[in-house]
């Protein structure tokens, strides 16, 4: 090797090295251009992603408008809805997203398409109120056939809305938080008197789950022997649990509440349960305008009604 390229031999040839660097440099340039074209401009502005992306995501249209938007026109309906147990149910849960309705300010848009849904039939109600395994116990739920039997409905196609107004389902004409605070029995001293050790272990014979009858056993006993025996306590005494330790009990003596079951209607049998026309019945018995069913029919409910609390 050294003899070939000695002092008198040919000059060292670096062409191959230059070629290599030229190829590398060219590749580098092409890569830089390709990369500049491929990577979006805002990429990396906030992290390893396109900086404009979240701002684009914010531009998507809002479809559900919320109850406040409904109240701008339907304030009476919303105010009515706010008084009862459906107060937490958004208008749009049943009527569908209101964006098109708000934009059109009408039931139909320019092209004559409906902008808002008005659900008919039982399906929408039963989505929440059909009795179902895993549905929490205190939540009102029915098997339609059983419910119809209880309230004497003959026509199986009867819709819920023929008795229940979905905007005002239980006629609670008062703020739910004005209702009487009922201590859900969680502490020993809620039942036991005198000096009570709250940390004592629960005896094996002591019931673990508390039911109304554990404390109100006289009431429960007289009720179970009466004509309303198929009805649960919480059907009339709506129990709304606010926290883990207390609840609010609502006793509703509004005649309309009784009439949910006892109102004369074409789809209902007259005898079970007895059905009346409220105005007619009131004039028959000479009761005033503010008369309540329980003023006369206390005995049909249970012993302690209107008695000691």
């Amino acid at each position: 090797m050294s003899s070939e390229h000695g002092p008198g031999g040919p000059r060292p040839d670096y062409r191959h090295t230059r070629r290599l660097f030229a190829v590398l440099g060219g590749a580098l340039f092409v890569a830089g251009v390709a990369r500049a074209l491929a990577v979006p401009g805002s990429f990396g502005a906030f992290g390893h992603w396109r900086g404009e992306a979240p701002f684009e995501a914010r531009q998507l249209p809002v479809r559900h408008q919320g109850r406040a938007a409904c109240a701008e026109c339907h304030d009476e309906k919303v105010a009515l809805n706010q008084k009862d147990l459906h107060s937490r149910v958004q208008c749009e849960d049943c009527h569908g997203a209101a964006d098109r309705h708000v934009a059109a300010q009408d039931k139909v848009d320019k092209d004559g398409n409906r902008t808002i849904a008005v659900p008919r039939g039982r399906d929408m109600c039963l989505v929440c109120h059909r009795r179902l395994t895993a549905r929490p116990g205190p939540f009102p739920q029915i098997v339609p056939e059983e419910h119809f039997k209880l309230v004497g409905v003959r026509d199986p196609q009867t819709e819920c809305t023929q008795c229940h107004d979905p905007h005002e389902p239980l006629f609670l004409d008062r703020d739910i938080h004005d209702a009487r605070l009922h201590p859900l029995v969680q502490r020993c001293r809620d039942c036991h008197q005198g000096r009570v050790d709250e940390k004592a272990a629960r005896p094996a014979s002591h019931p673990a789950i508390f039911e109304c009858a554990y404390c109100h056993k006289d009431v429960a006993k007289s009720f179970a022997g009466g004509s309303h025996k198929g009805v649960r306590c919480t059907t009339c005494h709506i129990f709304s649990k606010d926290t883990d330790f207390s609840g609010r009990i609502i006793r509703d003596a509004d005649p309309r509440f009784c009439l949910l079951c006892h109102k004369k209607a074409p789809f209902r049998s007259d005898d079970a349960p007895p059905s009346i026309d409220w105005a007619e019945h009131r004039s028959d018995v000479g009761a005033g305008d503010d008369a309540r069913c329980v003023d006369c029919h206390q005995d049909r409910i249970h012993d302690l009604f209107g008695g000691k609390r």
Binding site: L24, G25, A27, L28, V30, A31, G32, V33, A34, R35, A36, L37, A38, V39, P40, G41, S42, F43, G44, A45, F46, G47, H48, W49, R50, G51, E52, A53, P54, F55, E56, A57, R58, Q59, L60, P61, V62, R63, H64, G66, H86, R88, V89, Q90, E92, D93, G96, A97, L126, V127, C128, R130, R131, L132, T133, A134, R135, P136, F139
Partner: protein
């Protein structure tokens, strides 16, 4: 010619980004590369103008180029970004009170409408757990059909409950780590999103998510998932599912605000997250979660 500065932080292993760690571009890099090397071109289509040959040339240029740092020069503040909504001031999180869920699927219907979710896929769903007396667990979930309702099929359960599920918007999300093109990301207010324009629909994130929250949209052909209704947050509205829930089983709030409903709830209540062993730090907190729930 100045040599390019190599940044080995951006390795082929897709190391997780520290929040805000790469937020500000390094001045030195900008100078080294020069304006001609990284022109500020907004190319909407990924790989616009680059052919397979270009890519091969890039590869031929050496593996060093593959780890060349990709930080672009700082962007001018986006006019749409700030004035009314500052994403530095929020850290959104979600809570589910499983005691309250009645399985009505109002949330699913609201989500489908709000986000135009196509049939056959769901961004949020409800599972029903029924535990029989012999310990067997029967789980049925709302199928991907729009009007699904739960039905009783004669299973006698000792205890039973509903569990709503959705994207957990993990603080250390796996989907973001595996995305090969940087189309999965977490915003500064803590929401994990998909860049629809940049996603190539490879489905790697769908496989990576331990919660099954992602899917390839049959309509857009890119990855899709729950966004916490990001378009509503900036306007001061709760996600559609939270608004729709009639029993208050779904809750949403800002963890940077110590007085938000959610912050107070998480201080006062006992809660769990799903699959904590995955180390993803989910931001969806479950109250009253049963041990059988996975």
């Amino acid at each position: 010619m100045k040599m390019p500065v190599f940044d080995f932080r951006l390795s082929a292993f897709g190391k997780a980004e520290e929040p805000g760690g790469r937020g500000q571009p390094t001045i030195g890099i900008e100078e080294a590369n020069g304006p001609g090397v990284l022109p500020n071109v907004d190319s909407r289509k990924p790989n616009a103008g680059s052919s397979r040959r270009d890519i091969l040339k890039v590869l031929a240029g050496g593996t060093g180029l593959l780890v060349w740092r990709v930080d672009a020069p700082a962007q001018a503040a986006d006019p749409r970004a700030a004035p009314d909504y500052d994403w530095e001031k929020h850290w959104w999180a979600y809570a589910v009170d499983t005691n309250k869920c009645i399985g009505c699927t109002a949330c699913m219907r609201a989500c489908r409408t709000e986000n135009d979710v196509p049939e056959g896929v769901v961004r949020t769903w409800v599972e029903r757990y029924r535990i029989k007396s012999d310990g067997d667990v029967v789980v049925d979930a709302t199928a991907n059909e729009p009007d699904y309702v739960f039905k009783d099929d004669g299973v006698q359960a000792e205890r039973s409950f509903f569990v709503p599920k959705l994207c957990n918007h993990c603080e250390k999300s796996v989907c973001n780590q595996v995305c090969p093109v940087g189309a999965a990301y977490q915003t500064k207010d803590g929401v994990v999103l998909v860049d629809r324009k940049h996603c190539v629909g490879c489905g790697y994130c769908v496989q990576a998510c331990p919660y099954g929250s992602r899917f390839i949209s049959p309509k857009l052909h890119v990855a899709d998932k729950c966004t916490f209704c990001y378009h509503r947050l900036a306007k001061g509205m709760a996600p559609a599912c939270v608004q729709a829930c009639p029993t208050g089983a779904r809750l949403f709030g800002d963890l940077k605000d110590p007085h938000s409903t959610l912050s107070e709830l998480l201080r006062q209540k006992r809660y769990r997250v799903l699959k904590p062993e995955m180390g993803t730090h989910p931001k969806c907190y479950y109250l009253g979660l049963d041990r059988e729930v996975v």
